[in-house]
Symmetry: C2
Subunit: 458 residues, 2 copies
């Protein structure tokens, strides 16, 4: 479909598929970048995915990459890949505004760990993408490329919209509640939130115990490759071993067993969304995969009962963990905080350390209940959002489905294999701690089964 | 003793002992601060503990505190306590220079989590204290108040020297190798490195998996109270429950059993240091405490054998974890890095993710070996440094003893109960994960036994 207002279709641009023509010179990273920039010129006035760009720098980086491919010495498979960076992640050459007037034009003077790693791998950093205020709920201006009357979701709004619109092949995002999976679902792109700690958050302003940095991409192999190249060069958070798995997209032997979870989201999901999800589950069963539900196992039922607490616990945890730096923002200029953010700071002030300890203790219990499912299934699947992107830009939509993997700390993906009202809707694949590669293999298999065209590899 | 050059004696200023006179008005936080400032005026030209001060702000804060005590409404027991902040920890009112010309005059515009918490508790932030370059090995100008021809140790050089010289009752420090315990030992003050994660590092530039923020103080109860008040207001690192324990210094029932560890440090310790440590162990035995050694238990012998690896593993872990941001510093201006720091960046570049994974896997094994000692002893004791502060300012001394608790992630204290060549030397108390309060209780008991004058409580 095309956007009613602009008449334009989203046009995601997988990079690895194009890169096979770089060595021969039939295509080049510079030409690839120019196609992205042409799309940006045509659509950005309607999409508003960028906060800042460094086009001159991107062109220079793409030229250098083109030369490396020509010389047969690319720095990595993603050498030349155009990438967008969520504007809570620091960059040396562009400001980091965090969606807040408090940080308007602020520059830390250096790249975040993941951004530096991307540059080491040859990636072309094109620009900073719109985030909600401090990656929370107050929306930015970005519109959904599938229908510009709708939200792209948040908080990684510009990253998801930019991938969907073909501005870049991949983008960095962060998720503490639903900030990668939700916009990926709404924008019809691949979203990947790693196991907690898997991608180094140095220089990313999301200092919370459920927050992960992740990748939003035009294809599953672009997504894996970008994450893997980053991890090889800057690892995970300190103390974590980084992304474990092969040097290219994990292959896709069909999973034996999946668990179809409802989670708290099922109660608010639209009828069409539920129908599409159940149809997809039937298709997977028809392909020989066992898809279990809460009726099939006491462990699954126990997990379902526990997972309804995910949003409540996440809100409590996030409130305490935002006490700082929110108190410093309030000190500086409370008038520059949105009402939602100011209210969160009051919520944080009303909490004490014991409230927080109880929340993280309960979180640990729920994680243990969920972990038992690793004994019976390859992964879990559910919706990534309760419906397609809602109309309007004042809310980034519900994160009730997406919050599950955030609270669990588990790896998850949103796969653009469902639709609602003709708009994209993601299937969420939730894996188990540090088995991100297996979640990719399962996702690969699901794409092969449900949407073979999308699963084609470079 | 007094310093040979200046003829002045160190004069640590415990705060809680003085605070009992604040309610009556016999003493006030402002008067307390003025005594600290007078000492600073007299000695700072020789000690050089400060990078920056905010005297006007400190006096205003002390006046407000004096009024609260007069009104019978102090914000906490440390309301009015003068505190110094290591210059890798962010402050709203003073620059954060990190001991590097790359950050000369840099200001983040806000307080770190712990600094904000201290202000909420009424503490008086007097100034920023000298750190080695990026809290690593390249020394700053600070001199040891006991003998200004000697190093105060590092990297929390100014924090330890300032407490010893009576500039403030407590100071924040950070330790990733030996940066709290070593200067505390050399300067004859209480040093506390918490269990990993116990004090929120938000806004502190020590993003490493062994790094802890901790407190250096003039007395054991000042130390506990400052740490506890901070933790109540900003908690631990995200995902950690903060400092567990009572609202004032844990009481001191005598420990039943201690383990006297040698660690790798014993081989380099001076004869006098070893003699003093063994004499102290005899004194503890004479007081009825069982002090075991490697000859007494296979578990202790196994721990001793494992702990010799602490320094090597820590260096490997730190090198990888410094890859970022060191690579960004090098990009900006390599000439502004010390040779030691530049060499570390090269070491980091030569490593890969697998090297790091092996190091943290081995670290986990050693931690498990050490944890078995929790079944047989209250705490472990050893030297905090291999000798008194060495002469000269070009090195901050050996951290071979202090690194043990850093690698373990365990809580530890340096207690100023030993001497070498008439200079201070710390006894190190190493506890077990999240049992920081018990390590304080044991320390309290050790002080009572070995140095009753120091153990007097307010």
């Amino acid at each position: 479909m095309s956007d009613a207002k602009t008449g334009m279709k989203p046009c995601a641009r997988p990079f690895l598929a194009a890169a096979k023509d770089f060595a021969s010179g039939k295509d080049t990273p510079r030409a690839f970048l120019e196609r992205c920039l042409a799309e940006t010129d045509a659509r950005e006035k309607d999409i508003l995915a960028y906060v800042a760009t460094n086009i001159e720098g991107a062109r220079a980086a793409a030229d250098a990459s083109s030369q490396r491919w020509r010389d047969g010495r690319p720095l990595s498979p993603i050498d030349g890949m155009p990438v967008g960076i969520k504007d809570v992640i620091e960059t040396a050459d562009m400001p980091t505004g965090m969606g807040s007037p408090l940080y308007d034009g602020w520059s830390p003077g250096h790249d975040a760990a993941s951004v530096h790693a991307l540059r080491e791998a040859g990636a072309v950093i094109v620009g900073k993408t719109v985030t909600t205020e401090f990656a929370a709920s107050e929306p930015g201006p970005t519109r959904n490329p599938w229908d510009t009357s709708r939200t792209p979701g948040g908080s990684s709004s510009g990253s998801a919209a930019g991938v969907a619109a073909g501005y870049f092949s991949a983008a960095l995002g962060t998720q503490v509640i639903g900030s990668i999976l939700r916009p990926s679902s709404y924008c019809g792109v691949i979203g990947y939130k790693p196991t907690f700690g898997t991608i180094n958050r140095g220089g990313s302003h999301d200092y919370m115990s459920q927050s992960s940095q992740g990748v939003i991409a035009a294809s599953l192999d672009d997504c894996w490759q970008a994450a893997w190249e980053i991890s090889q060069r800057c690892g995970g958070d300190p103390g974590y071993g980084g992304l474990a798995g092969p040097a290219s997209l994990p292959q896709a032997p069909a999973p034996k067993t999946l668990v179809l979870l409802e989670t708290a989201g099922w109660a608010e999901a639209s009828d069409e969304a539920k129908t599409r999800m159940l149809e997809a589950a039937e298709s997977l069963r028809a392909a020989g995969i066992s898809v279990l539900t809460r009726k099939d196992s006491a462990d699954i039922e126990a997990a379902e009962q526990a997972l309804v607490e995910c949003m409540g616990i996440s809100r409590t945890v996030n409130a305490w963990e935002s006490r700082w730096p929110l108190n410093t923002y309030r000190d500086r200029d409370a008038a520059k905080l949105s009402k939602a953010m100011y209210d969160r700071s009051l919520e944080a002030e009303a909490m004490n350390l014991d409230d927080y300890r109880k929340a993280i203790a309960r979180r640990a219990e729920i994680r243990a209940v969920y972990a038992r499912l690793a004994g019976i299934a390859d992964c879990c699947i559910t919706l990534a959002a309760s419906a397609a992107a809602p109309v309007g830009l004042r809310s980034t939509g519900s994160a009730l489905f997406a919050v599950t993997s955030s609270m669990l700390g588990a790896p998850s993906l949103s796969l653009p294999v469902l639709q609602e009202e003709g708009l994209p809707l993601g299937m969420q694949v939730i894996g188990f701690d540090n088995r991100d590669a297996h979640a990719f293999a399962v996702s690969h298999s699901i794409l092969n089964t449900l949407d073979p065209a999308r699963a084609v590899r470079a």
